[in-house]
């Protein structure tokens, strides 16, 4: 929706295909063919797809620019640009401490953000349920680039030391039953009380939608920046569209 808003504000129009059923893929057409066809209809393609690597495939077959708006549990680079922009509104990014909380294994926003933050000398703190840690290959690659990654089991260990708290959704389907999910989810819930000793300039971000990860009472806190972060998605995506089509 934010890409559509961005395109409209630029004075352009967009053709949205929100489900497989709404296009020829429902008839068995490959993504490669769909992309080749759509390349003839549009000046750029923004793709969100459930398979990892789909955007790279699309870029190989498209004759117009392709923007990855999320590929399965892979990457979400456009979200990362607006995340960086939102952090930058509050502080310089270089050398800060950022905590990633939640499902870091399947959370594509966390993957892309961690990769981008490695360019800024950021110290990364990760807090995730067992089995949902940052993928080892990604973590090793970041550490080879010189990024310091510190794993924690409890948010309380690190909450008073970080400059950015980036919270992601823990998906219910990753757990064998509802009880397991609620037990884990409750221990990763961000509340005003948890932030009582936090740095004054701490910003709390979330790619949204949230479910139970952030207590709604936090919405009024000056730390809460997730709705502004979401709003930033429009100008950042306007800039991206302009960049690839300008």
């Amino acid at each position: 929706m934010s890409f559509e808003s961005a395109m409209a504000r630029l004075g352009g129009s967009s053709i949205s295909v929100s489900s497989v059923e709404a296009c020829s893929m429902a008839k068995g057409e490959t993504l490669a063919d769909t992309i080749r066809v759509v390349s003839g209809y549009a000046d750029a393609i923004v793709i969100r797809h459930p398979k990892e690597g789909a955007a790279r495939l699309a870029a190989e077959f498209a004759t117009v620019p392709v923007i990855n708006a999320g590929d399965g549990a892979g990457q979400h680079p456009s979200q990362t640009l607006l995340d960086l922009y939102t952090i930058r509104q509050s502080m310089p990014i270089d050398g800060i401490d950022v905590a990633l909380v939640g499902d870091l294994r399947y959370g594509r926003t966390a993957h892309s953000l961690a990769s981008a933050l490695s360019l800024y000398g950021v110290r990364l703190h990760t807090i995730s349920p067992p089995g949902l840690e940052l993928p080892p290959s990604l973590a090793e690659g970041l550490m080879e680039k010189g990024m310091e990654i510190i794993n924690h089991t409890d948010i309380g260990e690190v909450i008073n030391d970080v400059d950015v708290l980036y919270v992601t959704r823990i998906q219910r389907e990753r757990f064998p039953d509802s009880t397991s999910y609620f037990n884990v989810a409750s221990s990763y819930r961000i509340t005003p009380e948890l932030l009582a000793g936090a740095k004054k300039h701490l910003v709390v971000l979330h790619p949204l939608p949230r479910v139970d990860e952030i207590d709604p009472r936090l919405d009024a806190s000056p730390h809460a920046r997730y709705f502004e972060q979401s709003k930033n998605g429009v100008p950042v995506r306007m800039a991206m569209l302009l960049d690839v089509m300008g």
């Binding site: 398979k51 790279r56 190989e60």
Partner: protein, 164 residues
Amino acid sequence: MKHIAPADTGDEEGERLLIRRIKNGTVIDHIDGGEALNVIKILGIAGTTTETLSIATNVPSKNMGKKDIVKISNRELSKEEVDRIALITPRATINIIRNFRVCEKQGVEIPTLIVGSVRCPNPGCITRTNEPIKSRFAVLPEGKGLRCTYCDSVITKDLTSYII
């Protein structure tokens, strides 16, 4: 001038007894013992094939202790094809045989890209669908494995189990 190079690579008595000389084709020698079947698999000549294959496994070798040998009649493999096997047996040598003579002999080099011969371990990868693409892996430096160039999944061990 009479060419006196030994026929293909049968430089040890035991090998000559095990595998006959080939008139034309490719001999892959100095394969690590026990890896021959994986070699023909990664070369894409396993299963239904029209090639005449001779395979010797765990042949005694002075330098390697044990080695495997694969001979493929009437087909000259290109260096690009054969370099793929360097991932599982980096000491292998390739001999091109023409009229029983060794006409070319060279080692294998680890390529930078592996296309179409390794399956991505990630079931959610786009290469595991019916799309008209081949799997593609970048070979990581220092033997750190292979990285899928579509989904970034990394294979660090048991490479042979991912050979298509």
